[in-house]
Symmetry: C2
């Protein structure tokens, strides 16, 4: 009974576990306090560790922030890829899964927007953020392009192989502009919803995107190839 309390003052963690905890704390601080939350002391307090520990697992603050950015990015893209992969092989179903993944949590979250905005503000002046972006963004681009390519049939002519029985030799839809427009619509709707969640429902956003794509294919049939 007079035994000294063996209660440890802290618990040692494997480096990778601690790294992930610090990354999670960084994101949480960003959600809560915005750019001002990006301080060593705020983050370490959130993670329940001392100030010195961060520099033991990360060479400096910028590397931690870049790691957090990379984590958010890859998490989100992996979620969308999984949703699309689970949707089967139907192009329309895959598009639907993609859109539903885009317009639902954790992507569609006002807090998440606050986090993104801070990262965007850092993008221009932090090479580490730029690198993290480049390394993860490619996955998103190829995912979206794959969905669009299999959705807009004539584009397969350019790829050869699969689409053997292509009717028109001329590409009906400008795939490039289609991707640009869809991306803009996705980003813009996502932005709008996060800023003011009450103005429209996620289902309406999906509807708008599908209407946009439907217009592209219909345009093909009626007056395609009109581009200057």
């Amino acid at each position: 009974m007079a035994r000294a309390a063996p209660k440890p003052r802290f618990a040692r963690q494997p480096p990778e576990v601690r790294r992930q905890a610090l990354i999670a704390a960084t994101i949480e601080c960003l959600k809560r306090y915005g750019h001002e939350g990006l301080s060593i002391r705020t983050i370490s307090a959130q993670a329940g560790v001392s100030v010195g520990l961060i520099n033991h697992h990360f060479p400096n603050k910028d590397e931690l922030v870049a790691a957090a950015y990379r984590h958010i990015n890859s998490e989100l893209i992996a979620g969308m890829q999984a949703a699309v992969a689970a949707a089967g092989s139907s192009p329309r179903a895959r598009l639907r899964a993609f859109l539903e993944s885009w317009f639902s949590a954790p992507s569609l979250d006002a807090d998440a927007l606050a986090v993104w905005v801070v990262f965007w503000g850092l993008y221009r002046h932090s090479r580490l953020i730029q690198r993290a972006h480049r390394e993860t963004y490619q996955g998103y681009v190829s995912l979206l392009r794959g969905i669009l390519a299999e959705l807009l049939p004539t584009e397969r002519a350019a790829h050869g192989g699969r689409g053997r029985r292509v009717r028109a030799a001329v590409p009906a839809v400008d795939l490039r502009l289609a991707a640009i427009g869809l991306t803009a619509l996705l980003d813009g709707l996502w932005l709008e919803w996060c800023l003011e969640p009450g103005t429209f429902r996620p289902a309406e956003a999906i509807e708008l995107c599908e209407a946009w794509l439907a217009q592209l294919t219909r345009r093909n049939g009626s007056r395609g190839g009109q581009r200057p």
Copy 2:
């Protein structure tokens, strides 16, 4: 000859002139250095004044930043309003003027995006920024809504002669969703272009927006009122 050099060490300015100069310096620092440029010393150096002067013309830093935000906002909106007003009375011409104003300098500028992004990051945690936003944003909303309102009925009438009679009683297009979608497209395209100006030309962005609006009116004629 031996006269002491009467060169003044500084020049006094009327308060309003100095205020505007400090606001301009703030924006310039934001363009150059992002969020890190938002320091009293950086801004005062950019403006060519001493550190103490800012607090003589602004009660604190946050007020200066909010004033800069208000300035950018009203400047941009006033530019668009002027462009639309100068376009005459034709709804299509007014839309065209609006889009051209949107997708051209000084709105369409990668540096400007960097500035906006910093402000967005501050928005959630600064009441002053929120107030500045609320006071200026209303002008934009009413401008866009006016353009859409005068455009959609007319568009409908123009297409109405194509075999189907125009019915003014039932709103042909969901004006609310139209505004949401157009805003998303505008924001998204603007964002995309600022991030990677090489991917498409401003004229193509305008084309995409007009195609979007054309789709809305066409949709009305073919299968309108299908909304759940």
